[in-house]
């Protein structure tokens, strides 16, 4: 569950990225965050996993008050969520298996558990047979599936995705959305920033539109609503 109350974010260079946002996202929801470039989407998303701190206001994610969270507690908090990026952020020198296992090594799981859990999620994203390959040997869609596998391998309650289909063709994007749908169906909250009109308009979910740092629209089963 995510609660934002009266949140502002002003960067040191004077840019006000978020200018008063109040929002609540319940456990198990699937939310699209849409809006033009530079509207504050990224900042909004980054504040959810505490990559950025708000200048003012309160943010509570998975029961943790991020505005009061000490720096050294941030790693612990991050373990309760998964993050997926447009550019996948995989380590090129590690195999598919190692890339996913990385997230579990960090939290000091036993090798046995790691193996079991990694194979489970690789199965979920249909990449079990490519576990020993390196990211460079995979297509863009497959790489994104690896990064999704990594984000969900420790059963997070929330997955945050920043333009996950940004670099992918429409067909591949549908596959990726399929996976997110399945993750969501198991009760995990999904917050996804996107520019993909087709997806937002065909796979209907809650839409939050951000412009000039404020929420201008918040509809259940909404539409993309911007002309491209």
């Amino acid at each position: 569950m995510i609660i934002m109350k009266d949140v502002y974010k002003k960067y040191p260079n004077g840019v006000v990225a978020v200018n008063g946002i109040d929002v609540e996202i319940d456990q198990g929801e699937f939310v699209y965050v849409v809006g033009p470039s530079g509207a504050g989407k990224s900042t909004f998303i980054k504040m959810m996993y505490r990559e950025e701190k708000p200048t003012k206001g309160t943010i509570i994610v998975n029961g943790v008050d991020l505005t009061k969270l000490k720096d050294r507690k941030v790693p612990l908090f991050r373990r309760s969520l998964g993050v997926v990026f447009q550019d996948f952020k995989l380590l090129p020198k590690l195999t598919v298996f190692e890339n996913v296992a990385f997230a579990l090594e960090v939290i000091e799981e036993s090798p046995k558990t790691i193996k079991k859990k990694v194979m489970e999620v690789l199965d979920l994203v249909h990449l079990k047979h490519k576990a020993r390959m390196f990211p460079s040997e995979l297509s863009g869609g497959e790489q994104q599936r690896v990064s999704i596998a990594r984000s969900i391998v420790n059963n997070p309650r929330l997955v945050i995705a920043d333009e996950p289909t940004g670099n992918l063709d429409p067909e591949t994007s549908k596959d990726i959305m399929d996976i997110f749908e399945r993750i969501n169906a198991s009760g995990t909250t999904i917050v996804m920033a996107t520019h993909n009109r087709e997806i937002v308009d065909t796979i209907k979910h809650r839409v939050i539109a951000i412009e000039n740092g404020i929420i201008v629209r918040d509809e259940q089963r909404g539409e993309y609503g911007y002309e491209i």
Partner: protein, 297 residues
């Protein structure tokens, strides 16, 4: 931290040494070159210092007592010298004694002086040492004014000049070593920084999946330690062998002269231990410095 995790850090640190082949090579060369330089200069400077100290300790004043002085008057003079505040030790040396040491100092040829044993032309003397070697000339001047002093011997000009040279040598050496050490740290933390910039993405992802700062730091810290240890192997071998050879060559030739170089054992071992320690400190410190800015939350 679990034991298994430490094993993982160890493994990771070894892996990245091999994975970052050229960077490892660059860091290693930097450590090696600087440690060789530091080692050579340490050996030189510590030996110069040892020689200087032994010369300083050898500087004494010979007070020649007037031959007309009675035993009583000699004792009074000794007392007067002891009462000079800068004086450390006063030793009496009879003229027979003086002749003996003269004969000895000439070795085999000294035997010709034996002729004088019957009719000794030398003076009785006091050997005086100042508490602080730099006060030698001042003490000598004071003694000169006392009664029954025929002459005072201490090689004024040479001693003063020597002290000046020694002092310059020491200061120069200290500055040189400090400079080298700073250069070493700069070089190494720079090289390690480059390797870490290359791993920026890895660190970013580790932080994203919830790695604690220490989880990220450990492998890098260990890697720095290995680089330091590996980098000190060549300098240690070099210093060890070179000093051994120089020592074996010089020691017999310096026998009996007032110059002495430091004994191979324990000096060479101390220097090598010090180089190893320096390597570790530089390696660990360098990697800590460079990883710091990537760990800001």
């Amino acid at each position: 931290m679990k034991f298994r995790t430490f094993g993982r850090h160890l493994k990771e640190s070894f892996k990245s040494i091999f994975r970052n082949g050229w960077m490892t090579f660059a860091s290693l060369s930097a450590v090696t070159v600087t440690l060789v330089l530091v080692g050579v200069f340490l050996v030189l400077i510590m030996n110069i210092n040892a020689v200087a100290t032994s010369i300083e300790e050898d500087v004494s004043i010979k007070v020649l007592i007037d031959t007309t002085a009675t035993e009583e008057q000699q004792k009074d003079l000794g007392e007067a010298i002891r009462n000079i505040p800068e004086v450390d030790t006063v030793e009496y040396s009879s003229k027979e004694n003086e002749l003996d040491s003269l004969i000895q100092s000439f070795g085999e040829e000294g035997s010709i002086f034996k002729l004088y044993e019957q009719d000794n032309p030398l003076n009785d003397a006091y050997i005086v040492e100042a508490k602080n070697p730099q006060d030698t000339s001042k003490v000598a001047e004071t003694i000169k004014k006392l009664d029954y002093v025929q002459d005072v011997n201490y090689g004024q000009a040479q001693v003063d000049k020597l002290f000046k040279i020694i002092e310059y040598g020491r200061n120069f050496g200290a500055i040189l070593i400090a400079g080298l050490f700073l250069t070493a740290i700069f070089l190494i933390s720079n090289t390690i920084r480059i390797t870490i910039v290359a791993r920026k993405q890895e660190i970013e992802i580790m932080r994203l999946v919830g790695a604690t700062n220490w989880f990220i730091r450990w492998p890098l810290l260990l890697e720095g330690l290995w680089l330091g240890i590996l980098g000190s192997i060549i300098p240690i071998t070099f210093i060890f062998i070179t000093y051994k050879n120089i020592y074996d060559y010089l020691q017999p030739r310096l026998e009996g002269s007032f110059i002495e170089i430091l004994d191979f054992n324990p000096f060479a071992f101390q220097i090598c231990g010090l180089l190893l320690l320096l390597g570790c400190v530089i390696g660990v410190w360098g990697s800590m410095m460079s990883v710091r800015r990537f760990l800001k939350v």
